[in-house]
């Protein structure tokens, strides 16, 4: 994913070239967080084989936990990166859209009965319906942004406001519960495989986007539209279509994330499911060093950014920070990271470096 290439300028030491690389900040943050964990509790890296409630041997541990729980975020970061690049704005409705998509998924599985003995439709069919619904809502956002030229944050504010209401309306405000164990495979474990399924799903999505970026012109088109729409148009591109496409791709990511989320719970809680995940996804993109004003993007950096955020969340949970107080700590870390990566601060820091060098030479 992405080009992890070092800027080719000859000037500057290895260190400064490294720090200038877009991957540096997210990777350094990840390393720092892991190191912090290692020092405070060396046992945190242990991966053990336990038995889960179904009696299957499964892997567990701090790292597995991060990879498992970070799956949804990593998947969403893919779509959010593309939307950011193409439209120069962010979609704040992904949490609400997950609620809708999840609700639709359950509705199709349950039919009119909220406690079905047997599933009313195959899981695959239900997933496809929910997947398409998620993409349609993505397209709705995309049309508002690309056709009516409403700023993305504001346009998606609509779905953000209405999403959870729509979700509860889909199921008449009831909470369906799925008893069928095979539905839990997507958010838990497939019998006989000790690795959590969400990790596989995330890998699948990452490979898919890697292939798409490698074998199509998605990257070039998206970046061109994001950087200079006029000129993209005069080069035969259709900026409206590309922007809508990016929102539809994000919709697809939402559909997959919704499957995992709903499968983890086997039910849904309209007000809480995937709450604030849009903020995490946007932060992932920003942490990856991608300009939130659009243009060039680095997909790999965004994905690493997603895992950094998950790592932070998991670390805080581990140190018994109550979930409600979590955002405060997250905020401090985020501010530190963005301050460090802000161009102004970086310029100041790099202005200090040559001075130090000059002194050495003198």
């Amino acid at each position: 994913m992405g080009t992890n290439k070092v800027s080719k300028s000859k000037e500057g030491s290895l260190l400064s070239r490294m720090t200038r690389n877009q991957m540096f900040i997210p990777l350094a943050a990840l390393a720092a967080l892991l190191l912090f964990n290692l020092i405070l509790d060396p046992s945190s890296f242990a991966i053990t084989m336990d038995e889960n409630s179904a009696g299957n041997p499964v892997l567990s541990g701090f790292l597995i936990n991060i990879l498992d729980n970070g799956s949804e975020l990593a998947i969403l970061a893919i779509g959010m990166t593309l939307v950011t690049a193409a439209s120069g704005g962010q979609d704040i409705s992904v949490g609400a859209a997950i609620a809708i998509s999840g609700s639709v998924l359950l509705r199709v599985l349950c039919g009119s009965n909220t406690r079905p003995e047997t599933l009313q439709a195959p899981i695959l069919v239900a997933f496809l319906v929910a997947f398409v619904v998620a993409m349609l809502f993505g397209a709705f956002n995309g049309v508002l942004v690309a056709v009516f030229r409403i700023q993305p944050m504001v346009a998606t504010l609509i779905l953000y406001t209405a999403g959870r209401s729509i979700a509860s309306w889909v199921n008449n405000n009831e909470l369906p519960i799925i008893g069928e164990p095979s539905f839990g495979y997507f958010g838990g474990f497939i019998p006989g495989i000790p690795v959590p399924t969400p990790i596989f799903i995330a890998i699948l999505c990452l490979v898919a986007i890697w292939l798409v970026l490698k074998f199509t012109n998605l990257r070039l088109y998206t970046q061109s539209v994001g950087i200079n729409e006029n000129s993209a148009k005069l080069n035969g591109l259709n900026p409206t279509f590309i922007k809508i496409l990016s929102f539809v791709i994000l919709g697809a990511c939402v559909g997959v994330a919704a499957l995992i989320k709903v499968s983890r719970l086997a039910t849904i809680n309209y007000g809480v499911i995937a709450k604030d995940i849009e903020m995490d996804a946007i932060l992932a993109v920003a942490l990856g060093g991608n300009a939130l004003s659009g243009g060039k993007f680095n997909m790999a950096a965004s994905v690493v950014g997603a895992y950094v955020i998950q790592c932070l969340t998991t670390t805080l949970y581990k140190f018994k920070v109550p979930s409600t107080a979590l955002p405060a700590y997250k905020a401090v870390v985020v501010i530190l990271l963005v301050v460090l990566s802000s161009p102004v601060v970086r310029a100041k820091l790099s202005a200090l470096a040559p001075q130090a060098k000059r002194k050495e030479a003198a």
Binding site: Q223, S224, G236
Partner: protein, 502 residues
């Protein structure tokens, strides 16, 4: 003489990463004088102006205003000490009223007397003959009027030094005349005016002195009457003018076969940009051009051909076969390429590398599912960088860090890569240095001699006369004439542009 000096800049240095933009430049401005600052693009004029107005901070040197050393760190500082500026791009706020734009950021006190402000503004606007009212929202004025408002603001600020940085590029002849009258009035009042422009005629019409810069260094200061034009140009270029001689003869013109249908032919074509329906055709290997004043519809015509604006009607044929061109991609598929007028807005994709910018158009033509291999793109980029001698650090350098002329060459490379049958160049030479201009003109003739049809637009008439064998003349968004052969003389073209009424 000495006490007459209002502004003295001495030994100004300014560097940007990788560029030494100003190296020990001196500049002197006297009271009641219009002083032209001349130089090719990249000579450092704009940098010098921006240092003076506090947009950039200088690395070294002194600025002395009225005998006092001043440290100017921001545009506010500049305004405070009596330096007003009108920039080439309009630097006003479109969402505010005309009067606010004239008075905001000036004067003391927290509360504005709005009635007085509007009245004052109306007074000034009337005096200067600017067709706008103080209470009007700025965005409802035409670009030329907006530019005049910017000038009105600068004029009103009781300044000692007035800087006009290419203010005439969006004005028509009458407006320029109005501006000159204004400048002369101010000269009488003792204001020192720095006038930056590319138009030699204007320099010789109003300026008293000329300071010439080249490559970030001072070439010299001259009294206008003592410096013949040819010498001025050679001082700006640092070489004699042999390159600018007749180049048309160097290339044999392509001989079209008898009875061959024109490469491109349009009948009654018009778009939503306001141009009236026009007929147009171009033969294989022909170089023709659209000429007319700015805003006459010459750019809009070629945009209609390329489908860049929404085409509302007309028939289009390529090589005799009717085709439909509604979007740029349709035109591209039919072998038409278009280099747009506004390079920054419509041409470059700023943050992308030179390499991505070169392959963009052809990549779109190839299709979404068929990306170039990375190695191929490097090969192509290197080939065109060499062919057009594009000055860039590497193929991976973002295009926005190149100079204007080199950006233009990259865009040219982009379209040459699509191997078009018919190439449209809209102002390919605007704002780039003379050397590159000649390169581009030669390239146009060379391409034509190999059988490509080229439509060429330039606001410099001699450039068009040198390259084109046929000129379409536009006036008020209408095609008013077609000149070829013996008619291609400066005077004939001028007369046609001006129209019979004059």
């Amino acid at each position: 003489m000495e006490e007459n000096i209002v502004l003295k800049m001495r030994n100004i240095h300014k560097s940007f990463p990788g560029v030494r933009a100003l190296q020990g430049v001196d500049f002197t401005l006297r009271r009641g004088e219009i002083h032209a600052l001349m130089g090719e693009n990249g000579a450092g004029k704009s940098t010098l102006i921006k240092v003076l107005t506090g947009v950039y901070s200088k690395d070294e040197g002194q600025i002395n205003l009225d005998g006092k050393d001043e440290a100017i760190h921001s545009p506010q500082d500049a305004q405070r000490v009596g330096i007003s500026t009108v920039y080439q791009e309009i630097t006003l706020c479109p969402n505010l009223s005309v009067a606010e734009n004239m008075y905001i950021g000036r004067g003391k006190g927290a509360v504005q007397n709005w009635k007085k402000m509007n009245a004052d503004a109306d007074q000034i606007l009337t005096n200067l003959g600017i067709p706008a009212r103080g209470s009007q929202q700025l965005s409802s004025c035409s670009l030329a009027v907006q530019q005049m408002v910017a000038i009105a603001r600068a004029v009103d600020t009781d300044c000692k030094v007035l800087i006009l940085d290419e203010p005439t590029s969006s004005l028509d002849e009458q407006e320029v005349e109005k501006l000159f009258t204004l400048m002369r009035d101010l000269r009488e009042k003792g204001v020192g005016i720095i006038f930056v422009t590319h138009f030699l005629d204007q320099v010789y019409e109003v300026c008293d002195r000329i300071t010439v810069m080249r490559d970030g260094k001072l070439v010299g200061e001259f009294v206008t009457e003592e410096l013949p034009r040819v010498q001025l140009v050679s001082k700006m270029l640092g070489k004699e003018l042999d390159d600018l001689s007749d180049i048309q003869g160097e290339y044999s013109s392509y001989e079209a076969a008898e009875g061959e249908a024109p490469v491109f032919e349009a009948k009654g074509l018009y778009s939503d940009s306001g141009i009236k329906p026009f007929d147009f055709d171009i033969k294989k290997g022909e170089v023709n051009g659209f000429t007319g004043l700015l805003g006459s519809g010459r750019s809009e015509s070629v945009r209609a051909i390329f489908g860049a604006d929404r085409v509302l009607g007309g028939e289009v044929k390529m090589n005799g076969k009717p085709v439909k061109i509604a979007k740029p991609i349709d035109a591209m598929k039919n072998g038409i390429a278009y280099l747009p007028e506004d390079r920054k807005r419509d041409g470059i994709v700023g943050d992308l590398s030179v390499r991505d910018n070169i392959i963009l158009a052809n990549q779109v033509l190839k299709g979404f599912l068929k990306p170039y291999k990375k190695s191929e793109t490097y090969k192509i980029a290197d080939e065109y960088i060499k062919l057009l001698s594009i000055k860039t650090a590497s193929a991976d350098t973002p295009i926005k860090s190149l100079s204007g002329g080199n950006q233009q060459k990259v865009i040219l490379a982009r379209w040459l890569l699509t191997h078009p049958e018919y190439l449209i160049l809209d102002e390919p030479t605007r704002g780039i240095d003379v050397g590159t201009k000649v390169d581009i003109q030669k390239l146009v003739l060379k391409l034509a001699s190999e059988g490509m049809s080229v439509t060429f637009i330039s606001s410099e008439l001699d450039e068009m006369l040198r390259t084109c064998s046929r000129l379409m003349v536009m006036r008020d968004r209408r095609m008013v004439g077609e000149l070829s052969g013996e008619e291609l003389k400066q005077s004939t073209v001028m007369n046609t542009i001006a129209g019979g009424e004059k």
